[in-house]
Amino acid sequence: MDATLGREVLRLESVSKVYGSGDARVVALNDVSLSVHPGEFVAVMGPSGSGKSTLMNILGCLDVPTSGRYLFGGEDVSTMSERELAHVRNRRIGFVFQQFHLLTAMSAWRNVELPLLYRSAHDRRETAMRALEMVGLSNRVDHRPNQLSGGQQQRVAIARALVTNPDLILADEPTGNLDSASSRDVLALLQEINASGRTIVMITHEHDVAAVARRVLEMSDGRLREGALVT
């Protein structure tokens, strides 16, 4: 219960998200409450359409809730302006996407450098190199994404998420586009990063992927419930 004593990384209080209106009204999140503490590795499971993507968008400050409060590091982000949200995304959250979302025109290290362009950062190249070293790609820094395997591309994306030293890594189906060997690699890397103290929230629909997390939540029909704790 050590983690609960620390300050929460994030906290959802009765958050709902509704799309559309009238007959087309869809309740994607229904009264969701959640606390995540520093150092946790949380997996959110659920079938497609259960609302996990919406949860991910809200957690990642990519979207704002219809009602309820979202506190990130103690700050209420549900009322923030677009500019302030961009600031939070840049400083405090690292994203890992299913489709990697690397810019094909740039080398690996230029991709990793991207978030640093939107903040005042010195030694951008060195910082990017250190992040690439952490994911074991020091020998691929000048390769373009199309010269890298899927697993390597996702590791570049993880380096990009790490490079700003964020409070939270948010991974959306990080193994969804990978073969099983690469999936194991990437999951091992995420576990390693978590072991070094970084908080991770990972969205997945696969049980064996969720199994690497220490805490599993299940979503269905817009509601979130605590699943089996895995050690």
């Binding site: 979207d63 961009a86 840049n90 996407f97 810019l103 005042s120």
Partner: protein, 407 residues
């Protein structure tokens, strides 16, 4: 995001998408160069057409005498000998006829001319120093006779180019006209046919000399009088002034029906032709330029729109990584303005180069003026900027997650 880093990001975006950047630049380049070339060629063509029309003498008037009438038989226009040197002097007065420029009396006869090398029969006109201006002609080599020559009844002749060629005569030679020796002092410029006459096959001598040795008869009488208005715009008032002046001086010889014994003809058909040709050329030029700009603009617009659609993903990713809409807007502004300015400048360079090369290798003339260059650059760069920035600005306002999902 600092200005320096914005510039760096924008320029890296250009270098990272070389094909797209080159295509955009090329689109603007060709648009600008095409406008400069077509307008340049059009302007040169219009100038040359207008110059040719002006050489026809759109501001010229011709006064011919009325008809003889003997025993009820009209001799036809121009047969009466009613025009005199007094009429010429009256028309040359600036007080009576301020809008009349040059005045040239003409007597003429067909005469055999003989040179050392050859002989040729052609029209010889006797006239005054105003002949050149009143005919919209010039001297290609040598000179025209002077007032002094007219006063001294000098036996000097200026030849049309065809006559000079046929006689094998050049400036300084002596030829005989009706067996009287004349000195060739000038060769006229070549004008080609004028109505049914060959404007290049004639000789011109001082009217005094013509009266002496060629036409004979009353030295006070002239066959016709040529006038030029001071400009193309004053043809109407010059006509009025000449008409009024001659009506006054010829009042005594008006027929019983009040018919004047002279006729004034303006080259009005030339004038209206000239005006309609100029209008047509202006419309043609404007539409060619507009179409070139439109085509160039649409090319640039297409490339910009396609590239923004293609980049929606990148926009979403950059937003997720912390770029504000302002950051993205400035990035696209740097990209679009760099490409537009580079493309515009290259286009001006290509257009100017073509303006030098086309006349060098072909007979087509190119006249480059500042206005089409400026308009072309502004429109092409403006289209590049608007269609580079506006769709990107819209994409930058998308929720990042939607932009990320766009494929």
């Amino acid at each position: 995001m600092s200005l320096l880093r914005t510039l760096e990001t924008g320029l890296r975006g250009i270098l990272g998408h070389r094909l797209r950047s080159v295509l955009t630049t090329l689109g603007i380049l060709f648009g600008v160069a095409a406008v400069i070339c077509t307008v340049g060629i059009g302007t040169a063509s219009a100038d040359s057409v207008n110059a040719r029309i002006a050489s026809l003498g759109t501001n010229l008037l011709t006064i011919t005498p009325g008809s003889t009438r003997a025993a009820g038989v009209f001799g036809g226009a121009g047969t009466a000998a009613s025009l005199t040197m007094q009429d010429v002097d009256g028309l040359m007065s600036k007080d009576n006829a301020p809008d009349v420029g040059a005045v040239a009396p003409v007597v003429q006869r067909s005469e055999p001319m003989v040179s050392l090398a050859s002989n040729w029969t052609s029209t010889v006109q006797g006239s005054s120093t105003g002949w050149l201006t009143a005919n919209a002609r010039s001297v290609a080599s040598g000179e025209f006779f002077t007032q002094d020559d007219v006063n001294k009844h000098a036996l000097k002749i200026v030849l049309g180019s065809t006559t000079a060629t046929n006689l094998g005569a050049s400036v300084g030679d002596t030829i005989t006209v009706n067996r009287i020796p004349f000195t060739v002092i000038g060769i006229l410029n070549t004008v080609g046919g004028q109505g049914f006459q060959n404007g290049d096959d004639l000789g011109v001598v001082p009217i005094t000399a013509a009266h002496d040795v060629l036409t004979g008869g009353d030295p006070n009488s002239v066959q016709r009088i040529l006038l030029s208005a001071t400009s193309g715009d004053t043809v109407g008032s010059a006509y009025q002034e000449a008409d009024q002046l001659l009506l006054n001086t010829h009042a005594s010889s008006l027929g019983s029906s009040g018919t004047p014994d002279f006729t004034i003809q303006a080259q009005s058909s030339f004038l209206s032709t000239a005006q309609s040709v100029t209008t047509t050329l202006t419309i043609l030029l404007a539409s060619v330029a507009a179409i070139s700009l439109l085509v160039g603009g649409i090319g640039v617009m297409n490339i910009m729109l396609v590239s923004v659609t293609e980049r929606t993903n990148e926009i979403g990713l950059r937003k997720a990584l912390g770029a504000t809409p302002g950051d993205l807007l400035r990035q696209f502004l740097v990209e679009a303005s760099t490409l537009s300015v580079v493309g515009g400048l290259l286009g001006v360079g290509a257009g100017l180069l073509a303006g030098v090369l086309i006349p060098h290798f072909t007979t087509i003339g190119v006249t480059i003026t500042a206005t089409p260059v400026l308009v072309a650059v502004l429109v092409a760069a403006g289209v590049g900027l608007i269609f580079g920035v506006y769709p990107a600005a819209r994409a930058a306002r998308l929720a990042p997650i939607e932009a990320l999902r766009a494929q």
